[in-house]
Amino acid sequence: MNSPVPSSSPAGKLSAAQLEERLDESLDPVLSSRRTAQPLAAALAPLSRDLQDFALHWVAVIARTSGELAFQFATLAPDVLRQSDPVSAESWIIHAMDTFDREGLYRGSSELKNVDAFMLASRHNSNAVAFEEAGNVLGLFICGLAGRPLKLEVANEAYTDTETLHLPARIFARASREQNFLLYKALATHLWAQSRYGTFNVDPADKLATFADPARARALYNYLETTRLDAIIARELPGLARELADLRDGAEAPPECALLREPAATAADSLALVEALYENFEPPTLSYMGVLHPEIAQAVRASRVAREKKELQAELAKLLPENSGSADTQPADGASHYSVIATESGSTPDNFELVLDGSPVTPPGHVNDLMQSITQDLGEIPDDYLVTASDGVYRDNSTEEEKTAAVREETNSEAGARFYNEWDYKRRHYRKNWCVLREADVKPGDPDFIDTTLKRYAVQVGQLRRTFEMLRGDDKWLKKQAAGDDIDLDAVINAYADLSSGRELPEQLFQRRLKVERDIAVMFMVDMSGSTKGWINEAERESLVMLCEALEVLGDRYAIYGFSGITRKRCEIYRIKRFADRYDDAVRGRIAGILPQDYTRMGVAIRHLSALLNGVDARTKLLITLSDGKPDDYSDNYRGEYGIEDTRQALIEAHRGGIHSFCITIDREAREYLPRMYGAVNYTVIEDVARLPLKVADVYRRLTT
């Protein structure tokens, strides 16, 4: 852990008055005449100086996030610090702050107050498994198990809505890490199985609501379904089932449940049994049982069923042979009927073949997935799903379907947003999923801009091209090699002369072709903050035009993205040229259309763009930032040290991924902070903005040779 380690200090304890003064400083915004720091100071006064310092340090740190949370911490701190060591206290604080970041003040402060439970957990701290450690593996595990793609998320209870598995943030119920991970895996597997094997396909919410005590009925249904799914898991995943047996702690299901173990058992059987057992059976709770939220699941399922029907019909229409769209080959009702053959490899079909008018059609991968998902919900592909819309409707359908697909894609990824961690140097921890980032397109600007620029710099562009042409890799023949593609005839003739004059035959008689290849991918990250307004923005755009001219000659792969945003919730990345895009009129238009936007939250932009850059296969990867100043944002104290440290951390992360970063800036004060962020040599300051367009390409040439 990274807290200032309390060490004995020569100075004595702080008095209550001194403490109060320090607390006043940090907590000022949440104090009032009725709520003073005095009682807090009094409670902290008896502690040792080390613990006092520890408490004051964290009060100050938390106050930067939330004054209210800091106040509550100060209230709890004396008791907690007396009872536990600073290391567990720190993880308690971090946990509460993470919760605050994620779910707000109410949940954050309740986690803070929940200190006893946390300490109990942290007593087994070395054995606890947190979602951050296990989540990734579990996500892949669930994905491997097949079925509809599922998301994993942290929640207070373990449940599924049939599209997301909600899992607890940490598990510590068991005595060892392995056992706790197993419990995680068991929970996730059971939630997966609920979605895969139809726990919610029988509309359980409606039925369970009819009982006098719906909560009791729901618990019973949950237990019966767990029993049924356990039996399925035993058949499908015998290895896991063996491990689950250990977690069951010998709890045996009542004899009535025997029928649920039959391969033919369905959720309907469980639901029927609820009625039979409702009066006189107390369902036990197994450690790997989550809870059921049938209403939520049922609603999610209903909207999916409706959506997927439309999607499938539209997809099937697309699969129709080209000519059958015309009226003369259409059947009278204007629709085509498919039939479906499913190939089974387990208990559920995993591949489908479609038959249209007697001839088989193999559906593409995403249609197959869609059909699997439908089968998972309905047990089969109903006949009316296999009727494509008639010709006229087909076109409307397809556009409508594209629209819904696009919308769904957006909602799937939280309205197109991506989440990134941010480094808080005071906490010395990441704030998890702190920044919300979206990609957007740049509106094309005035096409004349490019021509004007090229005209203005015509001479320089010509020079630039020639310089870069010389850089371009050309084949070279290496003469007199020990091994090579071909014989070096000159060398051989010389060798013969040597040989006949009695000297030793040299071995270097071959020539070899050396291919000089540039294997470089470069990402330009352009500052689009409000401060670039005016001539800086123009210089930036001109630089990009010159750069593109040069790079087109060179053949290096390159992408250009702008970044800006306001607050952590609205970080924006503007696509100007992706790696796959060609340097065409659309790209030129977007370069011309670069406009100053809001602020400069650099860390998140670097994280996003380095992820994109890492998706490119190149020996050398470069991330070049064009900027005009320090990282800065509207709120959350991003300005100053916080932003510099976060940017530095993001660059370190990028470097670990094999990306070289470089910064070109026009901020004359940059020498004060850029070395800290980019390192002593990885930046250049261009004093004269007017020279930027000429310099950028030049810097790039130096960087890559």
Partner: protein
């Protein structure tokens, strides 16, 4: 000073041209997955070159061995790599006994002896190298050897075949249109579950229940394709795992070594694949 040995120069680099044509004597084990045998035979009869497309480990090379055996032609396999030059394929002059001697490369050799020349993983070779096969791959069926001043005409038994894995995401690993459009393509995929099971049993001798579980594991890893894995487990990996199990290695250990570690280096992915394997065995 030691006396120069004639021929030493040639010996200093083993010429690629010495590739021996290999006659396949025994029938290789091969299970057809579709009409690929008929298709290949028809292409052979009409002298059209063949392109085998498919992911790694799905049986492309085995298929070539099988066809070589079936057609009773010598098989010359060239594993392509990015240093492969045109001279490596066609041939070069070497000095032997004080004179330069022409040595055929594998391609020229295959043309002369009317064999099957199989260029494995053709995209790994440089694009300028692949161009030399163009005159052989259309109806001219000739191989000009400029350095030797010779023009080889391919006999009707000669077959040019190459393999290609379209699963690579990289733009650098794409086949040029001018190359690919000269070939009849035969598409290979992983065999469906029942056939794959049969293959695993035939190759390893493990019992059917175990083979079923191996197939399930393969399906699970194939679900992960595109979610962190570039490829799912190939049939070849299953055969490896099966062979280890048949040798008495515990199933979980065998899968960890033969499947998980062979698929990925990413620690989380390794763990996930191992968890999948241990949920089955």
């Amino acid at each position: 000073m030691s006396k120069p040995i004639p021929g030493k120069v040639a010996a200093s680099k083993e010429p690629a041209g010495r590739t021996a044509a290999r006659m396949i004597e025994r029938e290789p084990y091969y299970e057809p997955i579709g009409g690929e045998i008929e298709l290949f035979e028809a292409a052979y009869a009409t002298q059209i070159p063949v392109l085998l497309k498919g992911p790694t480990g799905c049986g492309k090379t085995r298929f070539m061995e099988y066809m070589a055996w079936r057609l009773k032609r010598p098989l010359i396999t060239v594993s392509c790599h990015d240093d492969l030059t045109a001279a490596d394929l066609i041939g070069r002059y070497l000095i032997t006994n004080n004179e330069t001697v022409w040595v055929d490369g594998p391609l020229a050799h295959a043309v002369r002896c009317g064999g099957i020349c199989y260029l494995d993983e053709i995209v790994e070779a440089r694009k300028d190298t692949t161009v030399v096969i163009h005159p052989l791959a259309d109806d001219r069926r000739i191989l000009p050897i400029e350095k030797h001043g010779e023009l080889l005409h391919a006999p009707k038994e000669f077959v040019l075949a190459m393999s290609y894995n379209p699963g690579y995401q990289s733009v650098l690993k794409e086949l040029k249109q001018s190359t690919r459009q000269r070939f009849v393509a035969i598409e290979f995929t992983y065999p469906h579950a029942a056939l794959e099971k049969k293959i695993v049993i035939a190759e390893t001798g493990i019992d059917p229940a175990l083979a079923d579980q191996l197939i399930r594991l393969a399906e699970m890893t194939r679900n992960l394709k595109g979610n962190g894995l570039d490829e799912g487990a190939s049939t070849r990996l299953l055969v490896h795992a099966g062979k280890l199990i048949a040798k008495g290695i515990p199933a979980r250990t065998a899968c960890a070594g033969a499947v998980a570690a062979a698929l990925t280096d990413d620690p989380d992915m390794l763990r996930a694949v191992n968890e999948l394997a241990s949920s089955l065995f």
